[in-house]
């Protein structure tokens, strides 16, 4: 099966444009565009070289090592892997978490959400949003933001730092800690640590509210462009709590179609394969997940902030819930279907994370000493969590000798594979058709990809900008033109 603009009819007659990051961290992404001699777009594809070596690497290892080992998959959202693996292994050792353990994990997760969303919005996306997608590349970077909007930049840095502090106190380290173990956690908070975090949390809540207003303001200012940019109808999937609330740590799977109709609800994620499956395509290493009920052609779906905010019935913290209502009502609901709506939804989630941290810090359980639980041992465990980028599935089989014999991971970026492809095809059609390609125009493609905050942008997180090499190649493979995007913001983030 082929989507519109996925496969050109006579590709050999077209010239090829490749947008390719020259450096990679967790993944490697590349966009190829085929154009005819009139610069009409015929084919657009996002290729991501997904790293699946981990599933092999983990085979034979003792299960208790997995939560610490697996987080090395990612330098930006290691906590998500740490927790998803822990949840799968809780199941394997039959543990029902103590209240203290569960709340500490939730706290760690909220810290992760806060820092990841802050990093993405303030460092990575704000240059596009605040200067314009096609604006001068010399300014359109985090350095430009720091000089033009120093207050905004500062808040972004401090929000991220605060999230990292929450992680440090719960996981033992800001990055790649060991706090969550199968059956619970290895530490709770001391009164001192709690008080340190409490000191600044109200400021974080306030700044997160401001961030929601910033993106709302940008939508108001650029209403038509934002609503239309890379827009496409899509199904969505996320975890929701039993009462329909947003729950980023635990819940059942809910999916809706583009019109908002529920496709499945409260599906036990321990049996995720009953509702979703993965398709392969000859031109991509990354799989294409889809809902079994609709098949690979119509069953693809988006995950992540936009999916979660529109999928849940409410957000269980008041400020974020109010922000959600405003978002859904904005412009007769059109923002909630926009690809750029991801940014708005992401800031609502950041606010929710800040409020969650505040609530948990007021809960005495996080100072508790009852950290570990265990129960009856089984061989198969599935852990699902809503990571910053979307639904993250970890699935393990462990033998009687405590060794992992099989692992399957479906990461957020993989769920969003088709939606990202869809978004860039829309943008190519909207902006590139018939034009001479410039850096500014090609940046529109990146802007669409960045909405999803895919893990391939781990490269971007590390370098401050998605590093790009663009080549125009004619049908015979000759290079017509070559453009290397500058990397001036290189060492300033992280």
């Amino acid at each position: 099966m082929s989507f519109k603009l996925e496969t050109a009819v006579y590709p050999e007659k077209l010239k090829r444009v490749a947008i390719e990051p020259v450096s990679r961290v967790e993944g490697h992404g590349k966009v190829t565009i085929l154009l005819d001699e009139n610069d009409q777009v015929h084919q657009v594809r996002l290729h991501i070289v997904e790293f699946r070596g981990f599933e092999k690497f983990i085979q034979g290892r003792p299960y208790w090592e997995v939560p610490v080992m697996v987080q090395r998959l990612c330098g930006i959202c290691p906590v998500s892997h740490h927790l998803a693996a822990s949840k799968a292994l809780d199941m394997i050792i039959g543990a029902k978490l103590t209240p203290t353990a569960e709340k500490l994990r939730r706290l760690m997760h909220a810290g992760q959400m806060l820092q990841s969303h802050a990093l993405h919005f303030f460092h990575l996306s704000s240059p596009d949003l605040m200067f314009g997608f096609g604006s001068d590349a010399a300014q359109r970077n985090v350095v430009g933001i720091i000089s033009a909007f120093p207050e905004v930049a500062k808040k972004g840095v401090l929000l991220r730092k605060y999230g990292q502090e929450v992680i440090r106190h719960t996981a033992g380290k800001r990055v790649h800690g060991t706090g969550s173990v199968p059956g619970g956690v290895n530490k709770s908070l001391t009164v001192d640590e709690r008080d340190q975090l409490l000191k600044d949390i109200y400021q974080m809540v306030a700044w997160s509210r401001e961030a929601v207003q910033i993106i709302r303001g940008l939508f108001e200012k650029n209403l038509e462009e934002y609503n239309a940019f890379g827009r496409f109808p899509a199904n969505s999937m996320s975890l929701v709590r039993a009462d329909g609330a947003m729950d980023l740590y635990h819940g059942g799977l809910r999916a809706r179609d583009a019109a908002g109709k529920v496709i499945f609800d409260h599906h036990n994620y321990e049996h995720y394969w009953e509702v979703i499956s993965e398709d392969v395509k000859p031109w991509s290493y990354m799989k294409f997940p889809f809902m079994k009920a609709f098949g690979p052609d119509d069953g693809w779906y988006r995950v992540g902030p936009l999916a979660r905010v529109s999928n849940c019935d409410f957000i269980p913290t008041p400020l974020a819930d109010k922000a959600r209502e405003e978002f859904l009502a904005f412009d007769a609901g059109r923002a909630a279907g926009a690809t750029l709506g991801y940014h708005w939804a992401r800031m609502i989630e950041m606010l929710h994370a800040a409020e969650t941290i505040k609530d948990l810090l007021h809960d005495e359980d996080i100072l508790g000493t009852d950290l570990m639980a265990k129960g009856e041992r089984v061989q198969r465990g599935v852990g699902v969590i809503e990571a910053p980028r979307g639904t993250l599935i970890h699935h393990y089989r462990v033998n009687e000798d405590d060794q992992v014999i099989r692992a399957n991971l479906i990461v957020s970026t993989t769920h969003n594979n088709q939606p990202m492809n869809e978004a860039i095809r829309q943008v190519a059609k909207q902006y590139l058709n018939g034009k001479k390609l410039t850096e500014g125009l090609l940046n529109h493609i990146e802007v669409a990809i960045r909405c999803f905050d895919p893990c391939l942008s781990c490269a971007t997180h590390a370098l401050g900008q998605m590093p790009l090499e663009v080549s125009l190649i004619d049908a015979k493979g000759g290079c017509l033109d070559r453009m290397v995007k500058n990397q001036q913001a290189a060492s300033l983030t992280d």
Partner: protein, 250 residues
């Protein structure tokens, strides 16, 4: 010459310019550790006969290199330990150990409690320096209570000695030669489950690195509370008596 009780003075030698008293028969490292002076070591353990294999305890005695765990102290010796020349050699030894096995500290449960890692920090090892050998060493998870992760074995034979001398079971042995030398389990199948090894054996407590590990308790101690988070390995409290051996893999 026989000394009368009131003229007896404890003999001493010099370690990096400091007088170290010793009992006759004590090795240099024993006397030094007893005096609160740290000399790096891996295969030495106060409860076992010296082995002299890792050479981390290298010192210079009157200008000549020697293993301080096998050299008996003598009055008036001049021993140099913390001098750049010796520390450089020790650093190189640690780097060689790191590439001979598969040591992935970030996901190793012994991290923070591991003598090899702690020595790496102590000696300022910033990289493995040598090309990794990546030996293939499958883990033995057959035993109910103990996991053997051979990837990290440094061949110090402490477990061999403990199983022989204390447990009287002879569970472990070294086999092969040179670079292919490796630790084996003495059972027909080669599996730990098919020996009379027990988690309470002395041999289960002595591994300085992360080979012999109690199952299902990895990462129970949070970062910040692990042995070498609290004190560097060179701290007398951390190294004297090799208490680090007692912590198992937790």
């Amino acid at each position: 010459m026989s000394a009368t009780p009131d003229t007896v003075t404890t003999p001493t030698f010099q370690l990096d310019g400091e007088e170290i008293p010793f009992q006759p028969g004590q090795t240099i490292i024993q006397a030094a550790l007893a005096a609160g002076k740290y000399i790096p070591h891996l295969c030495f353990h106060p409860e076992f006969k010296p082995h002299g294999s890792c050479k981390l305890c290298l010192v210079k005695i009157s200008g000549r290199p020697a293993a301080s765990c096998t050299t008996v102290a003598q009055a008036g010796l001049s021993v140099e330990s913390e001098i750049p020349e010796v520390q450089d050699k020790r650093r190189t030894l640690v780097q060689m150990l790191l590439v001979e096995g598969n040591h992935f500290c970030p996901s190793c449960e012994k991290s923070g409690n591991c003598m090899l890692q702690a020595l790496g920090y102590e000696l300022g090892v910033m990289s493995p320096h040598f090309p990794q050998i990546f030996p293939v060493r499958p883990v033995d998870a057959s035993h109910k209570e103990i996991l053997l992760d051979f990837n990290r074995c440094i061949l110090c034979e402490l477990c061999v000695r403990a199983s022989n001398e204390v447990d009287q079971k002879n569970v472990f042995a070294l086999a092969g030669r040179g670079i292919s030398k490796h630790l084996i389990v003495n059972s027909e199948s080669g599996r730990l489950a098919d020996t009379n090894f027990s988690a309470t054996d002395k041999a289960a407590q002595v591994c300085p690195v992360g080979v012999i590990l109690p199952k299902r308790v990895g990462f129970a101690i949070p970062i910040g509370k692990r042995k070498f988070d609290l004190k560097p390995i060179s701290d007398p409290g951390a190294s004297a008596g090799c208490a680090e051996h007692a912590e198992g893999g937790a």
